[in-house]
């Protein structure tokens, strides 16, 4: 049977075709305008999801790269400070070598004692250098001046400090003699608040790090708890009881002039990869925490020997000063090694970033040549539709009925 064609059909078909052609033409020109094939999530939901995740990865990489650049500056400054320290030690060795000989006199030695005093002062300035408001060599206690000019001979148990926000208003006092081998911060955290004799607490010997807490114990009735390494802390009741999350801490120091700690500053340089970028002042300048020679002590010994005119002692300092130089050199090379590692990590990140950028582009960017070809095709189709539309109605039986 022949299909009847009604007037509405003719017009509707033409109009529908025009709309369809225009719609796909517009979609293509939008893509050309934005140069993107994903202009809204529904254009390619899976692609959009992928792009968002890739963008997150790129943002992480950007941050890691920034972290690396920050660490690199820190290490560059550290290296130059240590190099300067090494130069001072070379000077000190020259003084020791010259003044240990028979040609030196009391006057030259007295004169060089002053030189040594200046060298020591300069070294102290170097060891107390700051970068970006933080001390380079104080471990993780970056706001604490790492080296003092006075040397303490005995270990020190610091004063017990109660954190600002504590509820407890009684007295916490530290006691005992510190027997540990490195500078540490002991933290007491109240777990369940209550009166002395009822409250419970935990102790951390690592400054209160999340995974360093001891088992929970009850504060004894006499208020005295043992921190470990020979130290204790005693609570004396005030008007308010100990409360949950009250924090008390004690800085314990080994003999010497180092006030920092043996912690290392670290930063994320990749997913799950943290990188320690600081050089501990303890390892660089003292005989603890990985160091072998207490450099300030040696220099002081040399200075005293010069003042007291003791050639034998001066001569014995030469080896020690060489050992000091070695220690500084070792730390300088450690800076270099770390910078190499950062450099490698950074170039990996740059490669990865490039790959990710390419992946994002593949997913969301439009293939212009393809789209322009398609657009040309749609244009032809649209023109044909218009041509047909203009003919409609011009051919009817009315023209032939007279």
């Amino acid at each position: 049977m022949v299909m009847r064609i009604s007037e509405n059909m003719k017009f509707n078909t033409i109009v529908n075709n025009m709309f369809k052609s225009q719609d796909s033409y517009n979609k293509l020109s939008e893509k050309i305008g934005t140069m993107k094939k994903i202009n809204r999530p529904s254009d390619d939901p899976i692609g959009m999801n992928k792009v968002l995740n890739l963008r997150e990865s790129r943002a992480s990489i950007k941050q890691y790269t920034r972290n690396i650049e920050g660490s690199e500056s820190w290490l560059t400054i550290t290296e130059s400070r240590l190099t300067h320290a090494g130069n001072l030690l070379v000077k000190a060795r020259e003084v020791a070598a010259a003044q240990s000989t028979a040609t030196a006199t009391v006057e030259t030695r007295n004169f060089e004692a002053d030189t040594m005093q200046q060298i020591m002062e300069e070294l102290l300035v170097i060891a107390n250098s700051k970068y970006g408001g933080r001390y380079l060599f104080s471990g993780t206690k970056t706001q604490e001046v790492p080296f003092s000019s006075s040397v303490t001979l005995a270990a020190e148990t610091g004063v017990a400090v109660a954190a600002d926000g504590n509820t407890f208003d009684g007295v916490a006092a530290s006691g005992g003699d510190y027997t540990g081998s490195a500078n540490k911060t002991y933290v007491v955290k109240i777990i369940d608040g209550g009166a002395i004799g009822a409250a419970t607490y935990q102790i951390s010997s690592e400054g209160g790090k999340a995974d360093s807490w001891s088992a929970t114990s009850i504060v004894p009735a006499n208020g005295e708890i043992f921190l470990g390494d020979g130290m204790d802390m005693t609570f004396t009741a005030g008007s308010t009881d100990l409360a949950t999350n009250d924090i008390f801490y004690v800085n314990a120091k080994t003999p010497g002039n180092y006030d920092g700690n043996d912690g290392e500053l670290s930063i994320g340089i990749g997913e799950g990869t943290s990188f320690a970028y600081s050089i501990s002042g303890e390892a660089a300048f003292t005989n603890k925490g990985g160091g072998n020679v207490d450099i300030f002590n040696i220099l002081n010994k040399l200075k005293l020997a010069l003042e007291n005119n003791e050639p034998d002692v001066i001569a014995s300092c030469i080896d020690d000063i060489e050992a000091s130089s070695d220690q500084i050199t070792k730390n300088i090379s450690s800076c270099g090694t770390r910078m190499n590692r950062l450099e490698i990590a950074k170039s990996n990140l740059i490669d990865l970033d490039y790959n990710l950028a390419e992946l994002i582009s593949d997913t969301e960017d439009a293939d212009m040549s393809e789209i322009i070809t398609k657009l040309a095709m749609k244009e032809t189709a649209l023109q044909a539709t218009y041509a047909t539309a203009s003919k409609i109605g011009s051919l009817t039986i009315l023209d032939f009925l007279r």
Partner: protein, 457 residues
């Protein structure tokens, strides 16, 4: 056979062809009337003469049912498409910006703080990024809510429309059954039926139903579960109530006006625009909001938990970074304590003021916390966007498909019921010829009678 009866034949032929020519006129006049069904005369031999026995509407009843079915689908998918398009605009992060970018900045701000834990600038930056993050959550949530409200306000209007169409159909039912009782044959009945088809098809765009034609020519319309909306000349109106809607007390529910229990019948509206709007309001938008809330509450809980493990500038243990009582996208807030004193940010992992805790918090971005340990916070957000994109793409595809089907079916109906000018012209020629012949016959018969009469004189 007498000459007089021949005159009668001529009269019937003339009248019948006149009717047919009038119908051609009616058809041409209505060639562009939407929903008009063409009519044609049915000539019956009335031995030995002729009559137009009835004026037939040329239509396919089953096609009407199919078209109504497509109208349900179109109404449903168009409502969904329109509303989802608006939701997609909220979540359109194709050009960057949005939650994804702010989350990335948020994590970076923690990393920056970890590199300089005592830095006031870093803390200030972290707080302002956090505030931007919370405010973008608010605006996403508010915009979804306002789309829901928008959809909600359309519902009483649609219910009104349903009632209007239903009562229009009832009116027409009454008039049609009158015609059928009287047995009147004219184009009036057909035009009433056309009107009723139109109303049914409009109604079909709003709500799904099926209908049956009764013996008196009226129809009864039933909702999907068989509850009647129209029974002959009786209409059962719908109404909206705001009662204990699970997600929002201001949301309208559909009920029957005469139902004293006001039993909610949202679930029996399964297709058409009304169903589409109900679906978007109660599942679509609500679902996205739930996911956004999950995201917000995970961020609050995870960051707070880690933040409490660290120490602030004054060696106190960290408190909540985000207000722990506000865990929805609509109200997530940085805690007042942090806002009034940025030194309460617990960046340090020890009382010594390092940046380890900030770095731990920054690393939350890589933890598989969402979807039962299968995705990170950022992944989860990307999957919300992906899901919306998928829903919109599906809705667009459905809409296109149903539109195409509907226009094919409409075309098919036009093929059967629509007016073709060419055809009408041919009919005009045919009926005109018939009319001319009948007139010629009349004058021939007249002459015969004259001749006969002159014999008598």
């Amino acid at each position: 056979m007498s000459g007089i009866s021949a005159l009668n034949i001529a009269k019937d032929a003339l009248l019948s062809h006149q009717t047919a020519i009038n119908l051609v006129g009616t058809n041409i006049a209505n060639a562009n009337t939407p929903g008009y069904t063409r009519q044609r005369p049915v000539f019956n031999t009335l031995n030995p003469s002729v009559e137009v026995g009835k004026i037939e509407r040329v239509y396919d009843k089953f096609l009407e049912v199919q078209i109504n079915e497509q109208m349900h689908n179109m109404g449903y998918s168009e409502a969904r498409k329109d509303e989802l398009d608006s939701i997609e605009m909220i979540f359109n992060e194709a050009d960057g910006g949005g939650i994804n970018e702010l989350l990335n900045k948020f994590w970076s701000a923690w990393e920056d703080l970890s590199a300089n834990p005592s830095g006031q600038a870093e803390k200030q930056a972290l707080v302002s990024i956090s505030q931007s993050l919370t405010s973008i959550f608010h605006s996403y949530s508010n915009e979804i809510r306002s789309i829901q409200d928008n959809v909600n306000t359309q519902i009483p209007f649609l219910v009104d429309q349903i009632n209007n169409y239903a009562s229009d159909i009832t009116d027409i039912n009454a008039r049609i059954s009158e015609y059928e009782n009287n047995g009147t044959k004219d184009t009036g009945l057909n035009s009433l039926k056309d009107q009723r088809e139109n109303f049914l098809s409009e109604l079909a765009g709003i709500v799904d139903f099926h209908y049956i034609e009764n013996s008196n020519g009226s129809i009864s319309v039933f909702l999907s579960n068989g509850m009647p909306l129209v029974e002959g000349d009786q209409v059962w109106e719908l109404d909206v109530v705001t009662k204990n809607h699970t997600s929002n007390p201001s949301f309208y529910d559909v009920v029957f006006k005469d139902d004293s229990n006001k039993e909610v019948i949202n679930s029996i509206v399964t297709n058409g625009k009304l169903a589409g709007l109900l679906e978007i309001r109660d599942n679509g938008a609500e679902g996205y909001l739930t996911r956004l809330n999950n995201l917000a509450s995970s961020i609050v809980n995870e960051i707070n938990a880690k933040h409490k493990l660290g120490y602030d500038m004054n060696q106190n243990l960290g408190e909540d970074f985000f207000d722990a009582t506000k865990i929805e996208a609509g109200n997530i807030e940085v805690s007042q304590a942090i806002l009034s004193d940025i030194n309460k940010i617990a960046a340090s992992g020890t009382v010594n003021g390092d940046g380890d805790n900030a770095s731990m918090i920054g690393a939350i971005k890589d933890e598989l916390l969402m979807d039962d340990g299968h995705s990170t916070i950022n992944n989860y957000h990307a999957s919300i966007v992906g899901r919306i994109g998928q829903d919109v793409a599906d809705a667009n595809r459905n809409f296109d498909r149903h539109t195409n089907l509907a226009s094919q079916l409409t075309n098919k109906r036009d093929g059967i019921s629509g007016v073709s000018i060419d055809e009408e012209m041919m009919n005009l020629v045919r009926f005109q010829t018939g009319y001319n012949a009948a007139a010629k016959f009349f004058s021939a018969t007249d002459e015969l009678v004259d001749t006969l009469m002159s014999l008598v004189r």
